[in-house]
Symmetry: C2
Subunit: 577 residues, 2 copies
C-alpha cells in the first residue's frame, strides 16, 4: 500500500544549487575525469527508477516474509534474489568503488543520495549491499595489493558480499573486552575462534561468497581496545588466483535474531571455530582499521533516517490529502475536508518535511566534505566531516524516527494497522538509532572526544560558516541562536577541565542543540540558494514555506536544550535510580 | 524475560502523603463508609500480586500468540481465559463499580493505580476489562433502572463484557459523518445497520455475552454530530428477566486487524445487520452519552503510558545494573563497570523515572479531582479534571512512549531483539497516543475548547495551586517557568480573538508546555510531601535525586515549546506541503 517516488528535484537542488558540488568536481583532477552534473543527474534518475519501481513496492512483502534460518543456511525473501541481481547488473553495487578495481569511483555526495533512495525503498534490503560498500573502504586502505585485486572486483560487482564482525554477546559498545582469539599459523595465516552476534548479512543466499571482516585478539595482545586486530575471513576459501573454491571455512551462522523490524535483514550469530583468517593492517591496530568502515557506515546511517522519513512523509501527505475528516473550509455538516486543511496535521507534515529535507542537505554537505578531503586533500574538510559524523548518525536517525512516528500519527488508527504500511517504517528506522554505535555513543564521540579536539578548530570553522551564511541571507532567529551557542561553547571549554563528566552528562543534549543549529544553517543556505534554483516556482515556494516553518516552529526547540546544558550538574547516585 | 514489580511504595506515597486522599475519604459521607487508608493499602498489595505474578509474566507470550479470527469467532491466548477468571473471582472487574449494582465503589484515585498495574502487566489484556468499566459509567448514567439491574451486575462480575462502537472506516475523529443507521420499531426497540471498525474486544472468548454501545443515526436525525444517538446492542439477546438467551443478535465480527502491537487485543470490524438495539439516553444526544465513557477512558489511557513506562524502566534499570561495558570506576582494561555508571545511561534512566513518577502523581491528582467532583459535588474539581483530561491522555502517553523508547535504548542492540521483551512495550504503548482520540485531538480539546472556557477559570485555579505549592516549597526554576507561562496565557487570551487558528496551530506545543509545567508542580509537591513520607530513607533520597534531575535536566525543555508558541503564525498553503 505504501508509495514512494524519489525526490529527484530536491536531490538535484542539493547537489547543484545548494552545495554546488559540480564546481569542485570540475576543478578536481580526479573527479573531472569521472563525473559532471549531467551524468550525475542521469544517475540519480536511474537510481530513482530502480529504487521506486523495483525495490520499494515489495518492502512490505519483505517485512512479512523475513529471513528463515535452517541448519546454518539463511533464506531471504524470494524477490530479494531477483532484485539483487538487477542491482548488480545495473552496476549499483560498484557506485562508489575504486575504478582501479572495477568501481565507478563516484563522489560520496552522489552516492549518499543513492543510499537514501535505497533506504526509502527497503532498509533491510539496502543493508546487503550497503555493508559491502563499507567493507570495501577498509579493504582498499588496509589489504595488500593481491588481496585487493582478488576481492574488491567481486565485491564491487556484487558477486560476493562482506560483513563487519565486531559485537560479542558480552561486548557491544565496549569492544576492548572481546574474547575472540586469533592464533598465528606457520603459513602467516591465523585461526580465528569465537562467537560474534548481530552480524548483518552474516549468512544469506544472495551471493556466492561472503567476506567477513572480523575483530579478534592475538595471543600476546595488550589488554583492552589497544589489543584488537582485524582479520579477513572468507566463507568459502579462495585459491591462489583469488577464485572461490568449494572448501568451506570453519565458520557457521548459529541462528538469526527475531527483531522489532528490518525482518528481511539477516542479523546473525556467527560462530568461528578455528576459521582461517588473514591479518588486515598491523597487529593490534584493528580498531582503527574497522573504524574506517564504521565511519563510512555512520554517515550511511544518517541516510537511513532521512530515507525512512522521506517515504513515511510522502505517504502521510498523500493520506492527508485523501482522508476527509472535519470541517475547515466546507460548511456542510454532512461533508468533510481533507485533513491536510487542519493546522495540527499541517504541523505534523511540515515538521517531518522540514527535518527530512534539512537532513538530506546535511548528508550531502558532510559527504561533500569527505569528497573534498579525499579527492582534494583538504584537511579542514576532513576535520569538519570527522566532527559531524556522529551528529549525522545520531541527529538524522533521531529526527528520522520522530518524523516516521509523526507521519504514522497523521494516519490515526490506520497508522497502527500493518496493512497501511506506516508502522513498518517506525519499526525499521528504530534500529538506526541503535546500531553502528548507539546514538548515546555518538554523542560521547561528538561532545567528549571531538568537539574540543585541536582547540575546537573544527566547530569554530563551522560556526564561521554559519555566520558567513547569515551575512548573505540574514535570519534573525538563527543569528540569535548562533550567538548563544557561541557563548555556550566558550563556557563549556572552560568548565570541561574542572568537571570532566560535564560533557558526558550533557552529550546528547549538546548534540541535539548542535543539530537544530546546523539544520537552521541548512535552511538558511537553502533560502540563499533559491535564486539559482531551476526546479520551478512551486518547488521554490514550498522551500520558502518549509524554511519559515523550521525557523519559527522547530528550531526554537533548541532553547530547551540550551537551558539544559547551561545547568550545573549534581552528583548522581546510581543506587538511587 | 521481562520483569515487573508493582511500585507499591510510590503508590502509597502518592495517595496518602502527596495527595492525602484519606482526608477527603474520611470526611466524605459516602467514601467514609467504603474505604480507609489501610484497606486501600491492602487492595494495592493484592493488585500488585495479581498483576505482577499472574498477568505480567505472560505478556510476551500473549504478544507472540495474538488473537485468531475464524468465521466470526475470535480466540484469545489460552492463558487469558484462566487469568480473566482469576480477575473476576478476585472481584477486580467490580473495583470502581456502583455498589447498588454489585460494584465495590472504590474511588478513582485508587482504581487508577490498579489500572496502571494492569497496563504494566499486559496492555492488551487490560483492555478486555478496562473498556467494560468505562461502559458501565455510561450505562449508570443513561440506562433505565431495569436495564441497569439486568446488565450492570453481570458487567461488574466480569461475566459479560462491553464495547464502545464509534469509528467507521470513513469516520474516525469526525463522528458527525458516520453512516450507521437505527430504524425505530413498533416495540420501542431499533434495528441497527452499519459497519464499525477498530472495536476493541468486539468479539472474543472470555465472556458469555458482549454488550455493545453503538453510535448510530435515526432516520430523521439532524446532520453532523448533533444527530447521533447511542444504542445498547447485546451479542446474545436477553429475556425479560435480563438473562442471556441463546438467540444471537444480528451482528458479527467480520475480521480482526493486524497491528503494530497489542496483538492479543481483538480489534474488530463489527458488522451490524438489522441488529436489535435499545436507545440509551435521549435521541440525538448520543455523543454526549458516549463521551461519559470516552472521558473515563482518556484518563485510563494516561495510565497506559505510565504503566508501560514503569515496566520498561524497571527492566532497563535491571539491565543497566547487570550489563558490564566500559570503564568509569575500574581501571582494569580487561574489566568493565555496569553501564548504570555511565552519565548518559543515568540520563536515560532518570528521564524515564522522572517522567513516569510524575505521570503517576498526575494520574492520581486528576483521579482525585474526579472523586471530589463525584462524591463531594465539587464543581471546581470537576472543571480542573475536565481541563486536565486531554493533558492526561496526551502528555502521559507521549511521555510514556518516549520513556519506553529510552528504556529500549539502554539495552543497545538487545533492545531491538524480541527475546528481551523491550521492543514490545514500544509497540504496545504506541497505540495509546492514537486511540480514544489522537493526541492531536486531545490538544485541540485542551487548547481550542477548554483552556479559555469560563474565562480561563480552571487554568487560573491550577496556576494558583502551583503558586501555593511554591510558597511552601520554593523552587526558583519552577517559579520562573510559572511566571512566563502566566504571561503567555494572558497574551494568548487576547490574540485568540484576532487569530482563531492560533490555538489550533499551537495546540500540541501548548499542551506539551503545560505538561512540563504541571510535572514540575508534581515534583514540587512531592518534595514538600517528603517530610510526611514513611517509605524509608532510600525512597526519600531517590525522590530528591529524581526531582532535582527533573528540574534541571527535563523541565527546561518547556522553554523550547514556550519559544514556539510565542511565534506569530504565517499562513500555510497545504498544496505546498
Amino acid at each position: 500500500m505504501s508509495i514512494y517516488q524519489a525526490p529527484l528535484a530536491d536531490m538535484r537542488f542539493n547537489l547543484f544549487q545548494l552545495w554546488k558540488v559540480q564546481q569542485f568536481w570540475s576543478g578536481n583532477n580526479i573527479l573531472s575525469e569521472r563525473i559532471e552534473a549531467d551524468t550525475a543527474s542521469a544517475i540519480l534518475d536511474e537510481a530513482g527508477k530502480v529504487t521506486a519501481e523495483l525495490i520499494a513496492p515489495k518492502a512490505q512483502l519483505a517485512d512479512e516474509t523475513g529471513v528463515q534460518w535452517q541448519v546454518g543456511n539463511v533464506t531471504t525473501p524470494e524477490h530479494y534474489k531477483v532484485n539483487y541481481q538487477q542491482l548488480c547488473e545495473g552496476g549499483w553495487t560498484a557506485l562508489s568503488g575504486d575504478p582501479e578495481y572495477g568501481g565507478m569511483g563516484m563522489p560520496k555526495s552522489l552516492a549518499t543520495l543513492y543510499e537514501e533512495m535505497m533506504c526509502s525503498a527497503d532498509i533491510a534490503f539496502s543493508l546487503y549491499s550497503g555493508l559491502t560498500a563499507g567493507a570495501c573502504v577498509t579493504l582498499l586502505q588496509y589489504a595488500d595489493e593481491t588481496t585487493k585485486q582478488h576481492i574488491l572486483p567481486r565485491l564491487y560487482s556484487g558477486e560476493w558480499s562482506a560483513t563487519m564482525c565486531l559485537t560479542e554477546a558480552h561486548a557491544g559498545s565496549d569492544l576492548g573486552i572481546m574474547r575472540t582469539q586469533a592464533k598465528p599459523q606457520a603459513d602467516g595465516s591465523y585461526l580465528i575462534s569465537g562467537s560474534k552476534i548481530f552480524i548483518t548479512a552474516g549468512e544469506h543466499d544472495l551471493t556466492d561468497n561472503i567476506i567477513h571482516l572480523v575483530l579478534a585478539k592475538l595471543p600476546d595482545a595488550p589488554a583492552g581496545s589497544r589489543g584488537i586486530s582485524l582479520f579477513l575471513v572468507p566463507k568459502f576459501m579462495l585459491d591462489t588466483n583469488g577464485h572461490k573454491t568449494e572448501l568451506r571455512n570453519s565458520l557457521q551462522c548459529g541462528s538469526v535474531e527475531h527483531k522489532m523490524g528490518i525482518h528481511a535483514s539477516a542479523s546473525c550469530v556467527m560462530n568461528f571455530d578455528d576459521a582461517k583468517g588473514y591479518l588486515l593492517g598491523e597487529p593490534n591496530k584493528g580498531l582503527a582499521a574497522m573504524f574506517t568502515m564504521m565511519n563510512y557506515e555512520r554517515l550511511a546511517m544518517g541516510s537511513q533516517g532521512v530515507g525512512a522519513a522521506e517515504r513515511a512523509f510522502q505517504n502521510a501527505r498523500l493520506y492527508a490529502n485523501d482522508r476527509l475528516q472535519g470541517r475547515v473550509v466546507t460548511k456542510d455538516a454532512n461533508k468533510a475536508d481533507p485533513i491536510i486543511q487542519h493546522p495540527d496535521v499541517q504541523r505534523m507534515l511540515l515538521t517531518a518535511k522540514a527535518l527530512t529535507e534539512a537532513g538530506r542537505s546535511f548528508s550531502v554537505y558532510v559527504a561533500h566534505q569527505l569528497d573534498q578531503a579525499k579527492f582534494g586533500e583538504d584537511q579542514n574538510a576532513l576535520a569538519v566531516a570527522s566532527l559531524l559524523t556522529p551528529v549525522t548518525k545520531a541527529f538524522l536517525t533521531d529526527r528520522g524516527f520522530d518524523s516516521c512516528v509523526m507521519a504514522q500519527q497523521v494516519f490515526g488508527g490506520h497508522g497502527y494497522i500493518k496493512e497501511w504500511g506506516m508502522e513498518q517504517w517506525v519499526r525499521d528506522v528504530r534500529i538506526a538509532q541503535i546500531y553502528e554505535g548507539t546514538n548515546g555513543i555518538q554523542a560521547l564521540d561528538f561532545a567528549g572526544r571531538k568537539l574540543f579536539a585541536d582547540g575546537g578548530a573544527a566547530i569554530q570553522q563551522i560556526l564561521q560558516e554559519i555566520a558567513a551564511g547569515l551575512s548573505v541571507s540574514p535570519q534573525p532567529a538563527l543569528s540569535e541562536l548562533l550567538n548563544q551557542y557561541q557563548v555556550l561553547i566558550g563556557s563549556l571549554a572552560q568548565q570541561k577541565e574542572a568537571l570532566p563528566s560535564l560533557l558526558q552528562s550533557h552529550a546528547c543534549d549538546l548534540l541535539d542543540l548542535t543539530g537544530y543549529l546546523l539544520f537552521g544553517h541548512m535552511w538558511n543556505k537553502t533560502l540563499a540558494a533559491l535564486g539559482d534554483c531551476i526546479e520551478g516556482e512551486e518547488f521554490i515556494a514550498s522551500k520558502r514555506q518549509t524554511a519559515d516553518f523550521y525557523f519559527s516552529r522547530i528550531m526554537p526547540k533548541a532553547y530547551g536544550y540550551l537551558h539544559i546544558v547551561q545547568q550545573s550538574l549534581s552528583a548522581i547516585n546510581p543506587s538511587l535510580i
